[in-house]
């Protein structure tokens, strides 16, 4: 295996050639907030929180999909990157409905963690407060669209690992939303195996285990 040496914020680290830059960051002890990235899923570079500055590149590159190469010089904590990360997290908070105080994921939420990490003391863009829905049709799980940040981890885990293809993104732009089946209630989608992987990978409280039903007995597929 070819190994390459690169510099992360001035620190030299060695990683396998072609490995994602995130691996180099880890080796250098740098952790950046990530929301769409999941180590077991294909990367999509959508949340733009892991952007780093790569010497010679015209614009910042996402560390989750950019391949490590010999001699690269990365900066992970410049004022421009900090400003970008903070605003992106603000945009997410403003885009959905995220009153942490009344969220089941409060204290166990990657979005909340990211906000703390980037020092978001307040959201400076106007909150949009979109009218969204809650899908409580599944016997075991709940989908609260208000808390969905459209990271697509659930779509990918269902496609790539479970193979049930329950989820997809529908529409586009600011109207993009997560759908189950043909835009059906989740509980009505037969291909769902109730495996719970989507719930496990959800970074926020959008997909959660229902607390009003006991986990057993197993209701059967």
């Amino acid at each position: 295996m070819a190994v390459v040496t690169l510099h992360v914020d001035g620190m030299a680290v060695a990683v396998p050639a072609g490995a994602p830059l995130l691996q180099a960051l880890t080796a250098a002890g740098v952790t950046l907030p990530t929301l769409c990235h999941h180590p077991r899923l294909s990367p999509v570079a959508a949340c733009r929180l892991c952007l780093v500055e790569l010497e010679g590149a015209p614009r910042p590159v996402p560390a989750c999909v950019t391949a490590a190469a010999e001699g690269q010089r990365l900066a992970t904590d410049t004022p421009a990157l900090r400003q970008g990360r903070r605003l992106i997290v603000e945009l997410l908070f403003a885009e959905g409905n995220h009153p942490c105080a009344v969220c089941v994921a409060d204290g166990d939420c990657e979005l909340q963690d990211a906000a703390q990490r980037v020092g978001m003391d307040r959201v400076t863009v106007p909150y949009r407060h979109p009218p969204r829905q809650v899908d409580a049709s599944h016997p075991l799980f709940l989908l609260d669209h208000h808390r969905c940040i459209l990271c697509s981890r659930c779509v990918r885990v269902c496609d790539e690992i479970e193979g049930a293809h329950v989820w997809a993104m529908a529409e586009r732009g600011g109207r993009t939303r997560l759908i189950a089946g043909l835009d059906q209630p989740w509980g009505a989608v037969d291909s769902c195996t109730s495996c719970g992987k989507c719930v496990a990978v959800c970074p926020t409280g959008a997909l959660v285990t229902r607390e009003d039903v006991p986990l057993s007995p197993w209701p059967g597929p």
Partner: protein, 169 residues
């Protein structure tokens, strides 16, 4: 003996304001319990729904803690007034910082009219009722006035409020 003492710091004028919120942040403030007494060494409480009887927001406030979001015309007027009369404004708690639960009504697809209909049905208060008219949207404090400090939490930890005031004093 007296020469050894540091010069006495000037006492600070503290106000607390309750906009649209559940009063939980003020309860958290009161939960400072005996620590409130030591705060009294540093602060004069010049306006507060829980620790003062003064109805009019005074001039020359040093620190103003603001609980709640801005939901009504009165809230808005009060927010502007307190800003003009305070040196340091602190958004206290999630409603003031983010809108929080108070702002959930913004999600109604028909806006304020839909909210009133939902709450009051046929009995929507007439326009000339003495109730303060609601704003179309609930806003966090920093959306309407300049805010110097934020102390989030629902409610914030009493200890945090105490440390904040101690550090300012």
């Amino acid at each position: 003996m007296t020469a050894a003492l540091p010069p006495a710091k000037p006492r600070l004028r503290l106000a607390t304001v309750w906009l649209m919120g559940c009063s939980g942040c003020h309860m958290a403030f009161l939960d400072l319990d005996e620590a409130l007494v030591s705060l009294a060494d540093r602060y004069d409480i010049v306006h507060s729904p829980v620790l003062s009887d003064r109805k009019v927001f005074p001039e020359g406030v040093d620190v103003c803690l603001v609980e709640g979001a801005v939901s009504s015309v009165d809230n808005l007027a009060m927010a502007r007034r307190l800003r003009l009369r305070s040196r340091l404004v602190v958004a206290l708690g999630d409603c003031a910082v983010t809108g929080n639960v108070t702002a959930l009504r913004n999600q109604h697809p028909d806006g304020l009219a839909g909210v009133l209909q939902r709450c009051w049905g046929q009995a929507v208060p007439p326009a000339d009722s003495p109730l303060p008219p609601l704003l179309e949207r609930v806003l966090p404090l920093h959306a309407v006035i300049r805010v110097d400090l934020v102390l989030p939490g629902c409610p914030p930890e009493p200890g945090c409020i105490g440390r904040l005031l101690a550090s300012l004093g």
